[in-house]
């Protein structure tokens, strides 16, 4: 008996987490991807092995959610603590990681992610943090999943002002031509609206939508006329058990100083369901 339906933000975590296969080695980037991997561990994928850019191998649910890949809460009782040469090149670059998850705060038609600067680089309107290992995750990651919690057009420009994490660049075969490896490049984007894939030209399209999301609503959230797959699937809603887990983890994230969207700010554990 679902008393409160899942919000789309919550739906996003379920949809993304479901794509994580139990037992996979997953390279997890900063922020929502970390929470998503944690939720997957709680739901159906307890045996994933998570690797982070600093060289941590996190093989089990950590006692607390790390606030970033460099929060050493992730390293407590780790089986391996190595370095970035291992993580970014020997594990990620060499294809030993089966899935890569990166947050895509601003992402364009061809899956290029901007986490650096909005507006001119030297005189930015909004200056964002920059790449970190995000460039490598997008450059080298196999089965690359992008995650965005936004449904705002400004988060989905036709072309980003600055490519921090390269997607399909200008589309077509540009990525391959420049020497990027086969099997790399974004495969999927998950956001509060549903699942998006990339066509053979590297252009993003809506492949499956969350319950209640209309193609019109999707189009209204993107700056370009995004295609919606004809006869797109409708993604399943969380069961009550799933929703309990997602909300517990969101509440935990808040305890760990994660800034949640407005609707969750006042969320206490009494409001879990």
């Amino acid at each position: 008996m679902v008393i409160v339906r899942a919000t789309r933000f919550e739906q996003m975590f379920l949809t993304g987490a479901r794509r994580i296969k139990d037992g996979a080695v997953v390279f997890v980037g900063f922020h929502w991807p970390m929470l998503m991997a944690r939720i997957a561990r709680r739901l159906h994928a307890p045996h994933i092995v998570v690797v982070y850019e600093n060289g941590i191998v996190e093989d089990r649910l950590t006692p607390v959610l790390p606030t970033s890949p460099c929060d050493l809460a992730a390293a407590e009782q780790a089986t391996t603590c190595a370095g970035s040469l291992e993580a970014l090149y020997m594990w990620l670059g060499a294809g030993r990681v089966q899935m890569t998850i990166v947050e895509a705060a601003i992402v364009d038609r061809y899956g290029n992610v901007n986490t650096t600067a909005v507006g001119p680089y030297l005189q930015p309107k909004v200056r964002l943090p920059g790449s970190g290992g995000g460039t490598e995750l997008s450059s080298l990651g196999r089965d690359l999943l992008l995650v965005s919690a936004s449904v705002n057009k400004r988060s989905y420009p036709d072309r980003v002002d600055y490519i921090t994490s390269p997607g399909y660049l200008s589309g077509g075969q540009e990525r391959t031509r420049l020497g990027y490896k086969p099997g790399t490049g974004p495969q999927t984007l998950v956001n509060p609206l549903g699942i998006f894939n990339f066509d053979e030209r590297g252009e993003m399209y809506a492949a499956a939508l969350h319950s209640g999301v209309s193609p019109e609503e999707v189009r209204a959230s993107f700056s370009w006329p995004i295609k919606v797959k004809a006869g797109h699937a409708v993604l399943p809603e969380p069961t009550e058990d799933e929703l309990i887990i997602i909300r517990r983890e969101l509440a935990h994230a808040k305890e760990r100083y994660y800034l949640l969207p407005q609707e969750f700010v006042g969320l206490g554990s009494d409001k879990l369901l």
Partner: protein, 304 residues
């Protein structure tokens, strides 16, 4: 680069002796083991015109920028990862030129790692992940040669390469060191091993000074043999509010406090006054944190 006993310096003396205005300085840490104590002392001594290299420029770089110490930054990101909230000073500097404009040059973390590896090995370049088409490949400010592209001599297309980085001075936080400068880190090491070896001069900031006998028990953890180290600073809690593996947790509350205060120029100035200037030194900073907070964050009560 010599053997034998190394000077054990206070942070004040270290900054005075090694970091004049305009110093080129690679600061260790990757949002853990960030030597905050160094940044605070640079601010206390009013340094100007620094060229700061730091892979992960967190609160530490934000404070140096906000306090007007910095002319150039080479980094792979600058942020306050708890929350996350913006690195407000960094934003104000780049968006509004406040307190003064700074120059920024960027590398991705993988490319930064390889540039440091090339520097460490004194090799003319290292190959890196493909980044052609990415902004930091195209956009170059004060390092016009930060990337090159060459043909793979064994066939198979273009290859991105980075030239060596050889910082004039490096200061790195480590868990422990002995009087000979042998420095050990535990937990993940990010790019720190090659980064330390890339520096022309190297200073380690250790949580504790230990007997060489302790170093010999874990020789795999020695990230810098003594002959690479010029001086040792012994400064407990030097990396707070970031974490030090095995020693203390990340202080989320303090990250949030800083995020809140640094939202405005006035708030940032109040942080500097209250937490950096008024405390006098890092021991004063830790005293201001209070025993209760310190006890909450502390992991290791005894040696390894």
């Amino acid at each position: 680069m010599s053997t034998g006993e190394k000077p054990i310096l206070t942070m004040q003396e270290t900054v005075r002796r090694y970091a004049p205005d305009g110093q080129e300085l690679l600061i260790g840490g990757f949002a853990f083991s960030d030597p905050t104590a160094l940044a605070h002392e640079l601010i206390r001594q009013g340094r100007k015109g620094l060229f700061i290299m730091k892979t992960s420029g967190g609160v530490l770089v934000d404070q140096l920028v906000g306090a007007g110490c910095v002319e150039r930054v080479l980094s792979c990101h600058v942020w306050n990862s708890v929350g996350p909230v913006p690195a407000y000073c960094f934003r104000r500097a780049l968006e509004q030129g406040k307190p003064h404009p700074i120059q920024i040059e960027e590398l991705s973390y993988g490319a930064f790692t390889m540039a440091l590896l090339a520097g460490a090995c004194d090799l003319p370049f290292m190959p890196t992940t493909p980044v052609q088409g990415a902004g930091h490949f195209t956009q170059r400010t004060f390092l016009p040669d930060k990337f090159g592209v060459i043909e793979n001599p064994f066939g198979g297309g273009p290859v991105c390469v980075v030239p060596p980085l050889k910082p004039a001075l490096g200061v790195f936080h480590v868990q422990r060191a002995d009087k000979y400068g042998n420095a050990q880190m535990f937990g993940p090491t990010g790019e720190m091993r090659p980064a330390m070896a890339a520096c022309k001069k190297l200073i380690v900031v250790a949580e504790e000074l230990v007997d060489t006998a302790a170093i010999r028990e874990r020789p795999e953890a020695t990230v810098a043999p003594g002959f690479m180290v010029d001086a040792v600073v012994v400064e407990p809690w030097a990396a707070h509010p970031t974490d030090s593996y095995g020693y203390y947790y990340r202080d989320l509350h303090h990250h949030a406090l800083y995020g809140e205060m640094s939202r405005t120029e006035e708030g940032f100035q109040r942080y500097v006054d209250e937490w950096i200037i008024a405390t006098g030194n890092h021991a004063g900073f830790i005293a201001k944190l209070g025993k209760e907070r310190v006890a909450e964050l502390q992991l290791r009560k005894a040696g390894w």
